[in-house]
């Protein structure tokens, strides 16, 4: 039954990594995530948090089960459809910032817009604005290798927000940042979440950050326990 408020709907999702000893990374996951939610995903190392994020972000295929995005079942989508969807609707912030070292901070942030082939002057202004918000207003034309880990993470955050996606997946987004910057970033997420109704799904070890979320999903051994 389609519900306009539902962003993501997971039905009996299983993810098994094949091999001599297959690893059952996700077991019968059933989950509904609404538009505009601010969710923290917690759990011990190796519990399946990153796998869940990859599956939700259409970076990895599920072994069984159904994943609905905005009411559409995604298992029939081909690579191209998934790529277009990722570009328009999903923003990623990886644990390691994963920037493109050959490009400046501004170009890295603009990359999703380049890929969407929608680049124009106002988008460039938007990229500069986001970079300024994350505290890099004076680093537009600096390449990642000349910046600190925290600064690079902030570029990655700016990049995830660039195309105004429906949902942002963040894997330990503030792990590499000092407490003050971490708080600033959290506040930024919250502000965007409130203003633009953008969904945030944040994988974190930090209890303090998780407790600020609207909802906490706890995963242990590939299963949602809470």
């Amino acid at each position: 039954m389609p519900n306009d408020e539902i962003l993501l709907n997971l039905e009996n999702i299983n993810k098994v990594y094949p091999g001599a000893q297959p690893v059952h990374a996700l077991i019968d996951i059933n989950l509904i995530i609404n538009k505009g939610e601010f969710i923290a995903v917690v759990g011990p190392s190796g519990s399946g948090k990153s796998t869940l994020m990859n599956v939700l972000g259409l970076l990895d295929a599920v072994t069984s089960g159904k994943l609905y995005y905005l009411g559409q079942e995604t298992s029939k989508w081909d690579e191209k459809q998934k790529a277009v969807f990722r570009n328009r609707e999903i923003g990623f912030i990886f644990q390691a910032h994963l920037l493109l070292p050959e490009f400046t901070a501004l170009e890295n942030v603009l990359m999703p817009a380049f890929i969407a082939r929608t680049i124009n002057h106002s988008l460039e202004e938007r990229a500069k604005e986001i970079l300024t918000i994350v505290g890099l207003g004076d680093k537009f034309y600096v390449k990642p290798k000349s910046l600190s880990g925290g600064q690079n993470q902030r570029i990655a955050i700016a990049r995830a927000l660039m195309n105004q996606p429906s949902v942002v997946f963040a894997d330990e987004p503030t792990g590499a940042l000092d407490q003050k910057t971490g708080n600033d970033i959290y506040n930024l997420f919250r502000k965007i979440n409130a203003e633009e109704n953008m969904t945030f799904i944040i994988v974190t070890h930090e209890r303090s950050l998780a407790q600020k979320a609207d909802r906490i999903i706890e995963i242990v051994d590939g299963q949602i326990v809470k």
């Binding site: 970076l59 191209k80 790529a83 990722r86 990886f94 994963l98 493109l100 990359m111 999703p112």
Partner: protein
């Protein structure tokens, strides 16, 4: 930005300068050699063919084989062990045509024929002071100059309008006989009667066989020296398309029933050798292209491996497989484009260098002049497509692998 793939590709080229230089170098070396080897060899071949074709008639008509020759086997049976001598006598005897005018009338309307001239050719001795030289003397008429392109090789004097007292000799022969323009030499042919001739022209064809052993005189003088009265030893023909000489020779043979040979038959061995040589060049080129392709492939495999994480990031941001392929393929095409022009320049420099080297090292065995070396256009065009095609072929597999990388695997690589 409509083509962000190119934006990324160019940035990669700039950022990974070492790899870019390796690929460009591989392509440019390949291109330079692909162009250089055939250009040098084909220049030699063209030069050889041009000199061969221009220094002798395209087609030569001689007297039909007489009964001795046509019944050679019968005679051989009869005169066991003496057939060699018999053949030799026959060959000597058969080279005389009595009615050259009639034959010229018979064939002059053949479409391919451009010029016809009778000649008297045979061995003679040239004497000047204490120097003596055996030469091939050729008695010609002015029309002959349309058949053999000797006028361009004249370094002194003239070859046109020779009187019965004139002779034109090669530069090397002039040096050996120690004669110059206006000096006289004594010529003795099979007639045994010496004739005093004035040197009115000296040529330098670059072919040793001509420059040292060939002399031209008036047809009448030639006939006198060879003691053949008003007969001629053959009729030379120039055709419009030198590669149709064989067909035209057949036509003349059918019309006249005479013994007709074309330059292609006369130089069959050289032509066969040249064709074999072309095949070898093709094979060498194939090896060069293969080795260039291998190095390009390995560089690209390394490049893709080094960039797999970034490929994953691009995919997570929505880059499609074909875009990833375009990013890597366009690098290959662009670098090979640059490599081609560097290679072309390299080939030009190598050709110039080789030409200078030959000029400074002096004469070769067959030729006294260095041919004019120029870039062979066909091979230059071929090398262009080779370079682009090879780089695409060499990078398509790594690019495809890059495109097929799963985002998660790439990011975690």
């Amino acid at each position: 930005m409509r083509f962000y793939e190119l934006f990324i590709a160019f940035r990669y080229i700039k950022a990974n300068l070492k790899q870019s230089i390796i690929i460009t170098t591989a392509v440019s070396i390949g291109v330079a050699i692909i162009i250089w080897i055939p250009s040098i060899n084909l220049s030699f071949m063209d030069d050889l063919i041009n000199r061969t074709v221009s220094s002798a008639p395209n087609i030569t008509i001689q007297k039909e084989l007489d009964t001795f020759e046509t019944n050679k086997e019968l005679f051989a049976e009869k005169f066991k062990g003496e057939n060699l001598l018999l053949t030799d006598q026959v060959l000597t005897r058969k080279r005389k045509i009595k009615s050259s005018r009639r034959i010229i009338q018979q064939i002059k309307n053949i479409e391919q024929i451009e010029a016809i001239a009778p000649f008297a050719e045979g061995q003679a001795l040239l004497i000047r002071g204490g120097e003596e030289r055996g030469v091939t003397i050729k008695g010609i008429i002015p029309e002959e100059l349309k058949i053999i392109d000797i006028e361009k090789d004249m370094v002194k004097g003239r070859i046109r309008n020779l009187t019965i007292n004139d002779i034109v000799i090669g530069q090397t022969l002039a040096n050996k006989l120690k004669v110059d323009m206006g000096k006289r030499v004594k010529a003795t042919g099979v007639s045994g009667i010496p004739i005093s001739l004035k040197v009115v022209g000296i040529f330098n064809t670059g072919l040793r066989a001509k420059d040292e052993y060939q002399a031209y005189v008036n047809l009448r003088t030639g006939q006198q020296l060879l003691n053949i009265k008003t007969d001629v030893s053959g009729i030379g023909v120039k055709v419009k398309d030198i590669y149709k000489a064989d067909e035209t020779a057949d036509e003349i043979r059918t019309k006249t029933g005479l013994y007709v040979t074309s330059w292609m038959e006369d130089n069959k061995q050289i032509l066969d050798q040249l064709n074999r040589f072309k095949l070898i060049i093709l094979f060498i080129n194939f090896l060069i292209v293969s080795s260039a392709a291998t190095s390009i492939t390995s560089v690209f495999i390394m490049l893709v491996a080094a960039k797999s994480k970034e490929i994953g990031i691009l995919k997570s941001m929505g880059a499609e497989n074909k875009s990833i392929m375009v990013i890597f393929l366009s690098q290959a095409v662009f670098l090979s484009f640059i490599g081609y022009f560097i290679g072309l320049l390299g080939a030009k420099l190598m050709i110039m260098g080789y030409s200078n080297l030959l000029e400074s090292s002096g004469e070769t065995m067959f030729s006294t002049q260095v041919p004019e070396f120029k870039i062979n256009t066909a091979y230059a065009v071929l090398a262009f497509f080779y370079s682009i095609f090879t780089s695409i072929l060499a990078s398509i597999l790594p690019s495809y692998q890059a495109a097929k990388l799963k985002p998660v695997e790439a990011i975690n690589a």
